[in-house]
């Protein structure tokens, strides 16, 4: 523990940059991050189409500039298309909704550190837009705002499909937000801090959380899929049932903003998974990148490491999307409430007890036996999860047995409302 703390001391920037330098660098970072992010999202739309094409033995877009200029073509198309407004829509909210879904996706990036600090000649520059001490809580707060855009879009369109999509998304996002928040508590337990850079440092000097907290990672990943409305959780837009759900009535750039928001959310969720469970910008198997002096080379290499991890998860999002079919609504709800929530709660208790036990036994944080203990807990949990619980009741398929008690309950609920089979009197 002391060992790790001593190392942490070294990482903490020693020479604070002056206010002017700080302002200038923040502005530069803002511009750079925003540009790269937006360009990346545009290219991801292409990547998604290409990957889906390859997975389905197709070619994908290959016309505009051999396919590379497809995002540009899409962008131009969205700019010049007609903006339609439904006659009965609530216009102010109708216009506000895309903005509301677009902004939270971007804001989340403010607190994610994307590289190791850079020790420039003007002082140590943190490679994060806003090095907030409450970083993680900020993310939880902002991710809840994202649901408003979708719900308002669904309601203000004055369209039954859009409304259904909005309702579904609110139910889904609220349900999974709980599991998502709960699954990250073990991370905070180990880090002892909610600042993102502290979480990364703890992982760099000890072990990546994916080994310590595998189950938490699995829960977080599933919840992240649900939060970003990606398949298999894309019930809010479910093409086959709801046309395109909440953005049915949107056209041109407003539709495009929902689209961009979806991809931005995906990138953010990927970055979060990388940061919370895969050590963020940490380069594995070496401490060289975490220690002072912070050179520009280290910053670049760690940026590369972070980008690799994030892009892998982005690819994973796409990979899952083109593999799994959409859940039924009841499956979605039962997975969220009956499995993920109790599991994450139980896991918090388990991790907390094991950590207390290991601390009491005198193993230092960061020492081999301490992490071995946690890994063993996870191995046991994963085996139980995938070999015992996962028996067709996890996501109940259509043929699974409905247990007798649930059946009776359903009967009781539906019986009073059941229409009589024959007319009661001969009038």
């Amino acid at each position: 523990m002391n060992h790790a703390l001593a190392l942490l001391q070294i990482v903490t920037p020693t020479s604070e940059p002056s206010f002017l330098v700080w302002i200038i660098f923040t502005a530069v970072k803002l511009l750079a991050v925003f540009t790269v992010y937006m360009l990346g999202v545009a290219l991801l739309t292409l990547a998604e189409r290409k990957i889906s094409a390859w997975m389905q033995d197709r070619h994908g877009p290959n016309r505009v500039g051999k396919g590379w200029l497809q995002p540009v073509a899409d962008g131009v198309k969205n700019f010049v298309k007609e903006e339609t407004y439904p006659a009965a829509a609530n216009l102010p909210l109708f216009i506000l909704a895309p903005v509301l879904s677009f902004i939270p996706a971007l804001i989340t990036w403010a607190v994610i550190p994307f590289a190791s600090p850079w020790g420039s000649r003007w002082g140590v520059i943190e490679m994060v837009l806003a090095p907030m001490p409450v970083g993680f809580l900020f993310i939880l707060a902002i991710s809840s705002v994202g649901v408003y855009g979708i719900v308002i879009a669904g309601w203000s369109s004055n369209n039954k499909y859009a409304l259904l999509g909005g309702l579904r998304s609110s139910a889904q996002m609220i349900s999974y937000e709980i599991a998502m928040g709960m699954s990250t508590i073990p991370v905070l337990l180990l880090a002892g801090n909610v600042s993102m850079s502290k979480i990364i440092n703890q992982q760099a000097f000890e072990t990546w959380n994916v080994l310590n907290l595998t189950v938490a990672f699995i829960i977080f990943m599933i919840a992240a899929f649900a939060e970003t409305n990606r398949l298999p959780f894309d019930l809010p837009e479910a093409e086959s049932e709801l046309i395109t759900g909440y953005h049915t009535e949107y056209s041109a750039m407003k539709f495009s903003m929902f689209f961009i928001a979806e991809y931005a959310n995906m990138v953010t969720a990927s970055a979060l998974m990388a940061t919370l469970f895969f050590g963020g910008w940490d380069i594995p198997f070496t401490l060289w990148d975490n220690l002072a002096p912070h050179t520009g080379l280290k910053t670049l290499l760690t940026l590369g490491s972070f980008a690799t991890k994030t892009l892998f998860f982005v690819f994973f999002f796409m990979w899952i999307r083109w593999t799994l079919p959409r859940f039924r609504y009841d499956q979605l709800m039962s997975l969220g409430w009956k499995l993920l929530l109790p599991l994450s709660l139980g896991y918090i208790v388990a991790v907390a007890s094991v950590v207390v036990m290991l601390d009491a036994m005198g193993f230092e944080r960061g020492s081999f036996p301490f992490h071995l203990g946690l890994v063993l807990l996870n191995v046991a949990a994963v085996v139980i999860l995938f070999n015992i619980i996962d028996r067709g009741r996890l996501i109940s398929p259509a043929y699974s047995r409905l247990n007798r008690r649930d059946l009776e309950k359903l009967r009781a609920v539906s019986a009073p409302h059941r229409a009589p089979l024959l007319p009661e009197s001969g009038d």
Partner: protein, 165 residues
């Protein structure tokens, strides 16, 4: 269950969602890394069409550039869709030739009877399928247009070689 549906107890390999997911993921990844692309990149590559393909018509010409048609009137009579309009004419030497020869390709059912019946082997159905036009009128091919077509013509069914080998 009161409905009496027989519920089969299945082994975990069949009911595990995670295992099914992993199986699906490997499948899609395999296809992504080693795709068996079967799409024909249409304007650049074209599928070869059958030798007996019956498409839009073509009027063959003699060496001196005149239509082979002698205006006998067999093709308009045999045409089941009634899409051929023929007005025969005759020059000073007594050679018959078509004054008007029009085929409405919209009415045509591409049966190929006209080619089969033609005594001069003048009118043919062609091995050709890119016929888009901007107007309905564009589909009425006159004699000049029929003569200007250059695509290969259909090889009719030969009783001696029924499978076209």
């Amino acid at each position: 269950m009161s409905i009496g549906v027989k519920v089969v107890e299945r082994p975990i390999e069949q009911v595990s969602y995670v295992r099914a997911t992993l199986k699906g993921l490997t499948h899609t990844l395999k296809h992504m890394l080693n795709p068996e692309k079967v799409t024909t990149q249409y304007p650049e590559e074209k599928e070869s069409i059958s030798k007996r393909w019956r498409g839009t018509h073509r009027m063959l010409t003699t060496e001196d550039g005149k239509a082979k048609c002698v205006g006998c009137g067999l093709c308009p009579s045999v045409c089941p869709a009634n899409c051929i309009k023929l007005v025969p004419g005759e020059d000073e030497q007594g050679n018959r030739y078509p004054l008007v020869f029009e085929i409405d390709e919209f009415r045509c059912i591409f049966c190929g009877y006209c080619q089969e019946v033609c005594p001069e082997e003048a009118i043919h159905v062609g091995r050709h399928y890119e016929n888009a036009e901007y107007s309905r009128e564009g589909f009425v091919y006159d004699l000049e247009r029929l003569m200007a077509q250059t695509h290969p013509v259909c090889e009719m069914w030969d009783p001696a070689d029924p499978k076209g080998e």
